[in-house]
């Protein structure tokens, strides 16, 4: 069976409908367990005090903010190359979820930064690239809304997504590119496997990361189904009018 079969809207809806309650349920369970564990059962950090508890929201949200954009990039490339409507609609569906993740990362980062750095905001490479990523999300959503023809909108938003990917990459690797700024290095470097946080904080953090990832997946499935139905509804209405 080819993966491209799922580019058929009916097949996509038939496959994802039974999956959504399970994925959403596991996501909520992971979030409840991870956040409860992190908030109630972990100790304060010797330097950060109780603000270390913000890590369970900030890190998974930032991770998903960037990953959401990469998912949109992949879907946009599939649209540009193979013209599968479901991929364009999946990219559109992911954007509002991605912007919420970006907003959570920015808000929690500012709230943590004020007591720890003595400032809500600094024009640090990672923070700045993240703010630009947020603006790209806004522009992406606005562009979809502004253009009436869905294929033209999909083309233009795909191009915007490719351009914005530069900032998604910068958001992730800015700390490595420029060895300056206030933002510390990544807490969980996957490439090296060398953790900079102890197990007592790491385990609930991983549970929260899984929860955020599954929540994103569930919401993208639900929202893509909605976009497919909206498109079908418009097509039917146009046919009935003519």
């Amino acid at each position: 069976m080819s993966i491209w079969e799922y580019a058929n809207p009916k097949k996509f809806i038939a496959t994802t409908t039974p999956l959504v309650p399970w994925v959403l349920g596991v996501a909520i369970a992971c979030l409840v367990v991870g956040l409860f564990w992190g908030f109630f059962l972990t100790p304060d950090d010797f330097r950060q005090g109780s603000t270390v508890k913000i890590i369970y929201l900030h890190v998974p949200a930032a991770l998903m903010a960037i990953n959401a954009w990469f998912m949109m990039l992949l879907a946009s490339l599939v649209w540009l190359v193979r013209r599968h409507h479901v991929s364009a609609l999946a990219a559109r569906a992911a954007a509002p979820v991605g912007i919420v993740m970006t907003l959570i990362a920015l808000i929690t980062g500012a709230i943590w930064g004020q007591p720890m750095w003595g400032t809500w905001w600094a024009w640090d490479p990672r923070l700045t690239s993240f703010l630009i990523l947020f603006l790209f999300y806004l522009g992406y959503i606005a562009l979809w809304e502004a253009i009436e023809d869905p294929d033209t909108a999909a083309d233009l938003t795909s191009v915007l997504c490719i351009v914005g990917s530069v900032f998604a990459v910068l958001s992730r690797y800015a700390v490595n590119f420029w060895n300056q700024g206030l933002h510390q290095g990544t807490s969980v470097p996957v490439a090296t496997g060398e953790r900079t946080i102890s197990d007592v904080f790491f385990v609930p953090l991983v549970i929260c990361m899984v929860g955020f990832g599954l929540l994103f997946l569930a919401l993208v499935m639900v929202r893509t189904q909605t976009e497919i139905r909206v498109r079908r509804m418009r097509a039917l209405e146009m046919r009935m009018r003519s």
Partner: protein, 53 residues
Amino acid sequence: MIPDLGNYAAEVMAAYGLSILLLVGIVAVSLRRGRKVRTQLADVETRRDRANV
């Protein structure tokens, strides 16, 4: 039974409150719009079927 958050209670509670609000918001909006569009599509399909009869 909220743990003792020391001097940073306001910051931690604000971070959790706002984040949970945003997460619940995007889930609620997505599910509600999905349900609404499904009903609207069913209406349009019924109208189309009636027109075709």
